[in-house]
Structures are given as structure tokens and as C-alpha cells.
């Protein structure tokens, strides 16, 4: 109940900021005629007798602050019109949601719309479990060109849209301004890793030989270290793979990037592996970290200190990838429900709602027109940390196939990186094994892809 109230409060607050009078009007509950003892639904007094609303199921992955925002979004949608009712079901994190969808497809109990993360949607596409959305998009009058090009294009295969950007993110450099000030660092992120290497030792706080505060921290495989490391490989001039699944884990520059991660923890000892990066940052246990823009909402709500955000540091190049999740319609959805499913996707990624969503979570506004909107501009003023994230977006690019298209590629690479950060194993050896594993795991995908796309 309290989450409901909270959503409601946020919702009203955001509406007040100016999501628009239209949405507000749509949101207002239909006035029930006084003294009517009949059912509220049949007596709401709408001009045309509304048909039975279509109920569609939405599976999604957000918890905490982001989960509240998503529930509020669904509620807004349900209150904005009377044709479609969205039944929202939390299914655990990205991985668990995808597992549930996989299992549910087998049982034919799949949802109509599911949130699928960057590393999962392709697998469902490959198994022809996703509906091509172009006709539905057209029927719903969605202006596809208004989506950020780089984001929407990631969900296109053979000229068709399958995966609509919703909660898209990029890695971002977060730093604790208090700790920065304590050691007299300028109020900005490091331009380069070399610069950070000079700063980092000062940020470390030791108590005896115990590290109380680290300068930087790495997440574990389950918290997507392979995603955050993706940009770093590019910064060093390396990469995980080519789009045609040729692996590059053993390239000199990729190994250099791995060695950099190794050294931060084991040689220079200013970074630590962390089980819960955002919590450690919020509790002041690490002075800085690369984290998703999608963590911003939670950090903003919970951190007791001023924090800053910056572009990822450069090495030889700048490198930063996109990430996060989008929405898709499952092919088990009956044709008569697909329009309703699209109605929700269109709503959730509409210019108005993407502003609401971005402001509450830190995920990217997925629509170009949203960026220019007055409320977004006002928000940038009020909260410049978020502006950094949006400014970095044009510099990002999609991730390498090894992580997002190879089945479990993310977890394979993530476990490998854990062996380096946690277990201090030799980088070249680990990456050599990853090269073999990824190559082998990619094989069936190559054949499957050829069968589908020719």
C-alpha cells in the first residue's frame, strides 16, 4: 500500500512539474455519478459504451526506486485510457526475467510484453519468439524517427524493429564529492585513467592495513562487470569480438585492458571487488565507481552526500557502450492483443513518459523530442549529474557480439573478469580460455543466424 501511495505521490509530483495537462486530465479518475448504486464501471458515464478492456501481461525486472517508477508508469497507463489494462509482474532481475520468459514460452504462458535486456532479446529473436513491430508501430502512429537513432537501431534486424528502447543506459563515472573535496581534487571526474591513477592513492583510506575506503570498485559477474568493462576494452584499443563472432579476447590491447583491471586491485591496490556496488558507493565505502545511469535514481534517493557524474575516463581512446533493456512483444501473443501490447510500449516510450521515467530512474530519455522539452531542460538545470549522462550518449556505441549475442556471453566474460579481480589469476590465461569458450558457444548461433537471416 505504501508503495502505491509513494508512486502516487511521485506521479503527482511529476505531473505537477509539467508532464502536461493532457496526461493530467487523462489521469483524473472518472467522476462517479453520486447516488448510483450500480457498478462503477458501467456507470462512469462515458459517451460510447466501452468494450471490455483487453488485459495484457507485462513482465519486468525493476526493483527498489526503479520498480516504484515502473509501477507508477503502468498505473498511469491504466488510468489514461479504458481500452487496455496492463497486468504488471515483477520477475526478478534481467537474467531471471529472461529465464522466466524462456520457461514460459515452453509452457505457452509467456507474457504479452516483456522487458528484455541487451544480452537477452537477441536470443528470443533468434528463436523467432519476437513479433516484428513495424506494422504495429505504424498502426499506433509512433514516430520511429523520434527515437534516439543509436538506441532504436540496436533492436533492428533485417530492416525490422523487434526491440523498442525503454530503460536504456550507459556506464557513467560516479564520484563522491565529499571525498573528492577532502583530498583537494577538482570537482570533476578524471579525464583519463592516467589522471585517475594519480588521484586514486589519495582517495584510499586505510585503518591499519585494512582498507576502509577504496578509490574505485568493480562489481561481480552477476552485476554485469562485463558490461562496464566493455568500454574499457575499447579505451585500450581492444574489443571482445567482431560482429561476425570472431573473438578478440586475446588481442594485445584487450589483454592490456584486463591487466589494467588486475592492477587496480592487486598491484596498485586502490580498487576492490564489490558485491553491491551502488550500496557501497552510497555508504561511502568507495569514492568512485563506474555504474549504470540507471542506478542514478537510487543513488540520488539514498546517498547522504553530494555526488558527481562524469564521462568515462579515456585511455588511448574514449570508449563507452549502451546497455539496459527494451520492450518486445512475444510471438505467443494472440494477434488481437498485439495492438494493445503496442499501445503500452508506445506509451512507456512516449516523449512524455520517457521524461518521467528518466527523471525517476536515471535511464536515458529514449526520444529526441524529449530532450528538447522544457521539463527536461529544467531537470538538467536542477540535476546536472543527469545532463552528463545525456551528453555522453551520442558518444556511445553498441556492444560487441561476444557479450550480447553469444548465449550467456555476458556471464562467461563476467566470470572470467571475476577470476581476475577476485582471484588474481593471470589475465592472458583467463582471456585465452574465454576466447575458446566464447568461440565454441558462438558456433550454434552462427548457424542459427544463417538459417534465419540467410
Amino acid at each position: 500500500m505504501s508503495t502505491f501511495r509513494m508512486n502516487r505521490r511521485q506521479l503527482l509530483k511529476n505531473l505537477a512539474i509539467g508532464t502536461g495537462a493532457v496526461a493530467l486530465a487523462a489521469c483524473a479518475p472518472a467522476a462517479a455519478p453520486a447516488g448510483n448504486t450500480g457498478s462503477a464501471a458501467s456507470s462512469s458515464g462515458s459517451a460510447a459504451p466501452a468494450a471490455e478492456p483487453v488485459t495484457i501481461t507485462l513482465w519486468s525486472s525493476y526493483s527498489g526506486k526503479n520498480g516504484e517508477a515502473e509501477a507508477a508508469l503502468v498505473q498511469k497507463f491504466n488510468e489514461s485510457q479504458s481500452d487496455v489494462v496492463v497486468d504488471y509482474q515483477f520477475q526478478g532481475n534481467y537474467e531471471e526475467t529472461a529465464q522466466k520468459v524462456t520457461a514460459a514460452l515452453q509452457a505457452r504462458t509467456a507474457p504479452d510484453v516483456s522487458l528484455l535486456s541487451d544480452v537477452w532479446w537477441f536470443k528470443f529473436y533468434l528463436n523467432q519468439a519476437l513479433v516484428p513491430l513495424d506494422d504495429l508501430l505504424a498502426a499506433a502512429n509512433v514516430d520511429v524517427n523520434d527515437y534516439q537513432d543509436s538506441l532504436i537501431n540496436e533492436g533492428v534486424r533485417q530492416g525490422k524493429h523487434y526491440w523498442i528502447p525503454f530503460a536504456r543506459s550507459t556506464p557513467l563515472f560516479y564520484y563522491n564529492k565529499e571525498k573528492w573535496a577532502e583530498v583537494g581534487l577538482p570537482d570533476r571526474g578524471p579525464e583519463t585513467w592516467d589522471e585517475f591513477m594519480e588521484w586514486a592513492p589519495e582517495l584510499v583510506r586505510m585503518e591499519g592495513d585494512e582498507m576502509k575506503v577504496s578509490a574505485f570498485a568493480h562489481p561481480d559477474g552477476a552485476s554485469y562487470i562485463a558490461w562496464l568493462f566493455q568500454g574499457v576494452t575499447w579505451q585500450f584499443g581492444g574489443k571482445y569480438s567482431d560482429p561476425d563472432f570472431t573473438m578478440h579476447m586475446t588481442d594485445e590491447n584487450t589483454i592490456r585492458a584486463g591487466q589494467f583491471y588486475y592492477d587496480t586491485v592487486h598491484t596498485w591496490k586502490w580498487a576492490v571487488p564489490s558485491k553491491d556496488l551502488a550500496t557501497d558507493f552510497i555508504n561511502g565505502l568507495t569514492a568512485a565507481a563506474m555504474m549504470s545511469t540507471g542506478s542514478m535514481g537510487g543513488i540520488k534517493a539514498n546517498a547522504q552526500f553530494e555526488f558527481g557524474t562524469a564521462f568515462l575516463p579515456k585511455k588511448d581512446y574514449f570508449g563507452c557502450c549502451t546497455g539496459g533493456a527494451g520492450l518486445a512483444i512475444l510471438s505467443t501473443t494472440p494477434p488481437e492483443k498485439r495492438d494493445a501490447a503496442m499501445a503500452y510500449i508506445a506509451f512507456a516510450s512516449s516523449p512524455e513518459q520517457t521524461v518521467f521515467w528518466a527523471q525517476n530512474t536515471g535511464y536515458m530519455p529514449v526520444r529526441k523530442s524529449a530532450l528538447e522539452s522544457a521539463e527536461m531542460q529544467a531537470y538538467f538545470e536542477e540535476f546536472p549529474q543527469f545532463k552528463t549522462a545525456v551528453e555522453q550518449l551520442p558518444l556511445t556505441r553498441p556492444q560487441d557480439a561476444a557479450r550480447v549475442w553469444v548465449p550467456n556471453g555476458d556471464q562467461i566474460i563476467g566470470k572470467g573478469l571475476e577470476r581476475i579481480t577476485v582471484q588474481s589469476e593471470d589475465v592472458a590465461t583467463v582471456f585465452g580460455e574465454l576466447q575458446d569458450t566464447l568461440t565454441r558457444e558462438a558456433e550454434p548461433i552462427v548457424t542459427q543466424l544463417r538459417a534465419i537471416e540467410g
Partner: protein
Amino acid sequence: MVRSRRRITATERNEYLLFLLLVGPNLLLFGVFTYWPLFYNGYLSFVRWDMLAPIKIWVGLDNYRYLFTSPEFGTILWNTVVFTVSAVLLTCGIGLLMALLLNQPLRGRVAVRGIVFSPVMLSGAAIGIVWIYIFDPRYGLLDFFIRGVGLRSPNWLLDTSWAMTAVIIVHVWKTLGYAVVIYLAGLQAIPRELYEAALVDGAGTWARFRHVTLPGLSPVTFFLVITTVLAAFQSFDIIKVMTDGGPVNATTTLIYYLYEEGFVGFNAGRAGVAAVVLFLAMFVFTLVQMRYSERSVHYA
């Protein structure tokens, strides 16, 4: 009763029918939900299937070859052995000590027995969660005690060399009460006269323990070893909640691997192989145990 092959009497037939009626549903459910899956896993171990594709591709022994040549699988088998052996030894060893203690005429021992036994009853998921809190190296209860003796808490669940210790501790903590109760029952079942006879023979405390108590406990110990091995083999909730098999693969046991391949990675084939390996391990264990039980357990 002499069984004749020729004639089955009407009463016998009725008994057979009633037997089927009473046992049938139970056995049928086992057939469908326990034995059929075993066969099906066997089949899956020869295919490649991600649960999405409409067809399963027959790959022969590929999955077996893959697993038995991957260093990962070696680690997992080793983890399983380490977890099982430590869990069984610690549970039975500490359980015996506690049972001996609780068998003394001390006030409040029933209440203590209740406390010691209670974790057995509680949800593994909930217990795992409580222990994450206790293991926290910065504000956890355990850290407080470790600091108290001048040491520093390792980063239990994030350190590959400590995570296994941590899950073993929790597993033992949770199953200990079971061993205590079983050993107490075993101690009560030892005839008192044996002790009296030993006293008459002038046997000391140690001698009585060595020559009366221990042999008297052997059937119970035997039972306990079997059940704790099974429990350790099947320990899942705690690992799932506390470490998810990590860090890296430090706490991935066979059963966790099976779950991970089957229901997380959707490599039905590899999960099938793991299931076959697990089944064979259980089978061999059962055979050894039957052989052993015929030979050398002293039944009081």
C-alpha cells in the same frame, strides 16, 4: 504362508487390488515426477537444446566430452566433495559432542536441545539471508567476534578462498540439530546394563565411551552418515541465496551446477549430463552403503 503359483484365491486377489489402490497413486506420482525425469535427463544428456528451439539436436557424447574436458567441471566435482565431506564430518562430529553433553542430567537441557534443533525447521532461504547479514565483513556479527580476538574478518562471500567455508558453516549450523537429536536417540537406545557391566569391570570414563558408547552408536552413525551425505548433496537454498554459486565457481556444487545449466543457462544437454553424473554418484554411494551395512554395523 505358502505361495502357490497356480491358484490365486479371491481374498488374495482382493488384497492385491486393495494394495494397488492404496500404493498405486503414490507410486504413480513417483513414476511421473521422479523416475521419468531420470530417464528424460538421460535422453537430454545426448542432445543440444536451449528450451526455446523447436527441435533438439542429437549430439551424441558431445555434452559428456565437453563437461569432462572442461576445467570448470573438475572444480565443481571437487567443490561437491569438499562440501559433502566437510559437512558430514562436522555435522556428525559436533553433533555427537553436543548429544553427549545433552545426554547428561543437566537442568535446561531440553530447552537447549530445542534451540539447537530449531534451525533444522527454518526456511533455508531465510537462514541464508540472515547469515549474509552476519557474514558482512564491515558490520556483521561474526566480524565483531573475529575482531575481538584480534583478527580481521575475511570478505566471506566475495573471497574465493572463504566462500565455501561460509556456506559450509551455514549448512552445518542448520543441520547440526538433526544430528544431535539422532545421536540422543541412539544414546538412549544403548542398554544401561552395558554401562553397569563395564563399571563392574572397572572401566574408566574413556574406556566406557570407547567400548560401550561408540559401538552402541554405530547403527545410528551409519544412518546419520547416509542422511547427512544426502542432505549435503542436495543442499541448494543456502547456496542459491548466499552466493549464487560464486564468486567465480567457488561454491558451485554439482546440484547447483545442474540448476544453473538447466534453468539459468538453458543448456538442457549439460544439465542432463550433470543429472546423470549425480545419479550415478548416488547409485554408487547406495551400493557401497548397502555392502557396508551388511558387514560391519553393530546392531545393539
